[in-house]
């Protein structure tokens, strides 16, 4: 199947090159962090505008430092809430991507 498909796609690509105008020069990758940040929307609404707390449109630093602060809290402490273990589930690189993306949406 795979070989056949590759072959057919190869043929198709040749045909497309012959028949169609030149392909657009650039493909757009989805914005970095968009899919990761969409995990927030179940509780904070589409684009982070509703629900528990508005999380969109703040600076990346503000969102990131808030998430890092949550990560530092320990079980049994007074301010242990659902966001604490939740934030602990993401890597630093992921939190940076999420906060960057959330800072760009309105």
């Amino acid at each position: 199947m795979t070989t056949t498909r590759r072959f057919m796609c190869g043929l198709a690509a040749v045909a497309a090159a012959l028949l169609a105008p030149p392909a657009p020069a650039q493909t757009t990758a989805p914005p970095e962090g968009r899919l990761l940040a969409s995990n927030c929307f179940q509780c904070h609404g589409t684009d982070g505008r509703r629900g528990f707390e508005q999380i969109n449109g703040k600076s990346q630093t503000e969102i990131y430092s808030k998430l890092k602060e949550m990560q530092s809290k320990q079980p049994g402490s007074g301010d242990w809430d659902i966001m604490v273990p939740h934030a602990k589930g993401y890597s630093d690189a992921q939190l940076l991507k999420i906060s960057q993306y959330l800072s760009t949406i309105r």
Binding site: R5, M8, S38, T46, Y90
Partner: protein
Amino acid sequence: MNYTRRTWLTAAGAVGFSAALTRCGGGDPLAPATTDAASAPLADAARSTRTAPTVVKSTTGRVVIVGGGMAGMAAAKYLRVWGGSGVQVTLLERNASYTSNILSNLVLTGQRTLSSLVYSYATAKQAYGIDIQQGAVTAIDPINRTVAVAGRTTPLQYDRLIVAPGVMFDTLIGLESPEAKDRVVHAWQAGPETTKLRNQLVAMPDGGTFVMTIPKAPYRCPPGPYERACVVADWLMRNKPKSKVIVLDANPMPTAERHTFETAFYGIFANILTYVPNVSISSIDATGARVVVHTTVVPDGPVDFIGDVVNAIPPQRAGKVVLENGLAPGGLWAPVKPATFESTVAAGVHVIGDSCSTASAVLPAGVPKAGHIGNQEGKTAADAIIRAFRGLAPDTDVVINSACYSPITASTASWLTAVYQYDASGNGYRMVNAPASEATNPTADGYQDMNTWFNTLMGETFA
């Protein structure tokens, strides 16, 4: 369905260029070029603040979605929000509206009406331009990329198919007849059975016994059965205090929020509720004045439990359309590639929500079957499909998160959360910091948060 033979025939026969082109993941390259600006109302808001690329490749493609539940609707919405108007989305759903399973246990206690859990398809249809049609899919042809719809002569063409039918329920031995099915309901699909179980509880005499059975995991909504046991016990304590609750669990312990549920079972509900783990049900006899559940309990051996009201939640498997179209070769769940939710047995077909399984021999747990998770699976599949239409590789920095609130009494609720990270090995998802975290104890604030969570999740999915 014999894929090998059909694949061979397709390869031997002539495949039109246009068909081959759409299968290369590039959409239709011969279609007039459009920029993302053409889909401005639906376009990702971030674009307005980013430097616009000089040439933007349009995203075009046809997606058919089977099933308008938590997963299917999230996929439909985000295909349009993220993909723009070039992504045509047709969603087929058997029912005219959606009834939420989440919070349907509160219908049993009279705290919510069933109609308060009903969501219309009209909002998303209008807001996002999703072509939502009432209809049932009868057959999937993954080679020619078509789906047949009951009562229609022409099949629907797709570039990508998303299958999200939820679960199908096994029939327990003894409950084959319509009379037995009517007497012993599962109410694990919110609807008429939920009302039926509510009425049975209302009619049960004070001093009666309510027996419920829980299947082995995986099943839909891990904390759900334990939540039901709690809210029914709480309701009986206040309304029919001489009554008893017996919970027969096929699992060795609560499959979610163990601390919360064991604390409740052996604490506030200790005088009314008996929790029996490691139970396998042999059969249920619903012919007499009271219902008899024949079981084998480890290590005690055969035990019969007798109830005035018996609520048997049977084992579950993937939806009928998944099973009948060969998407679940093992006969239970549809195996999928974890980063994209594309079926491992049919290219171009994504299975999301309760019907799919991300489990593998290396990571055997798989992400749980739950509405909040189904919503994220829908977004993950939507992102993967849009990338494929643009000729991009799938994202592998994928996280599926779980957050869930459970009512424990009429005024308190607990929560759980877990984060599932895509494993770079490609074998599935790994729960970070297992086991899942849960609330220290159920609280009144938690009950308010539960309503906020529910309303936001349903808005995110249906509006």
